[in-house]
Amino acid sequence: MKTHFEALPPAVALLVAALLVIGAGLTLIGAVGLLRLPTFYERIHAPTLGTSGGTAGIVTASMVLFSVLAGRLAVHELLIGFFVTITTPVTLMLLGRAALYRDRSEAKAEADRAAREAE
């Protein structure tokens, strides 16, 4: 169908296809979790599926495909994996702390209001 895919040996094509399906599947399951899980602190676990397993699968698939097609090692996709590995923990940690801070200050405001009404 696509001309540049035909140059690949079938074994490599199967490997790339398997990696793609695993990566995209894990990302989709993570997104479904983002939609289905009931509380914020549970939902914060869902995108890590896409950023660890999902990104690893798709980036490795791309690396294998371009290495075999070009006949030389193509590793520049590793930069994406490296970048995502570095940035995701930072954003998730900041979001977790922000959520905790907001929940606590809201609970405190609620308690103050209840105390005032009780007086």
Partner: protein, 160 residues
């Protein structure tokens, strides 16, 4: 040497990244080296604390263990999401950490957040207490023991 290359690892990483993004050629090697040296000088103007791993040969073992654990917990969390909410107890865990080196703590935070199923929520530097959220607490799983034994211990060996 130290005056012109204050951060040799950073400079080497920048050159490597430059050569990965462009095709390898002598011109790009020189250009990347120039950018790397400037980046090293800019970094030393920020005066970051020096990082000195004492037992660096233990790092590959820890990296392999983390990669394996991330792969395993990917499958576990995918299963938990697909199964639904029953038989799963989410909740917070409080863990007292002995690790004090800021760089090692950063690596521990990265490991625990990158691991599906655990999220680093808050760390109190004064008391060394870490608030961790787990998607499934499990039946009496010893979270503090797992974190201390699998990740904190090796990190302390490497950095302290």
């Amino acid at each position: 040497m130290t005056r012109h290359l204050p951060h040799p690892i950073l400079t080497a990483t920048v050159i490597l990244m430059w050569l990965l993004l462009n095709r390898f050629s002598v011109g790009h090697l020189l250009l990347g080296a120039l950018v790397g040296v400037i980046a090293g000088k800019a970094m030393s103007a920020l005066r970051p604390p020096r990082v000195r791993p004492r037992r660096w040969w233990l790092i590959p073992g820890l990296a392999l263990r983390v990669l394996g654990d991330i792969g395993g917990s990917n499958l576990a969390v995918a299963g938990q999401i697909l199964r639904g909410a029953e038989r799963r107890v989410p909740g917070f865990v409080e863990i007292g950490l002995r690790l004090r080196d800021p760089f090692a703590l950063g690596i521990l935070a990265t490991i625990l957040t990158a691991m599906p199923g655990t999220a680093w929520i808050q760390y109190d530097r004064a008391s060394g207490r870490l608030l961790l959220h787990a998607l499934d607490l499990g039946d009496g799983t010893d979270w503090a023991g797992i974190v201390r034994e699998r990740y904190e211990g090796p990190l302390m060996e490497i950095f302290e």
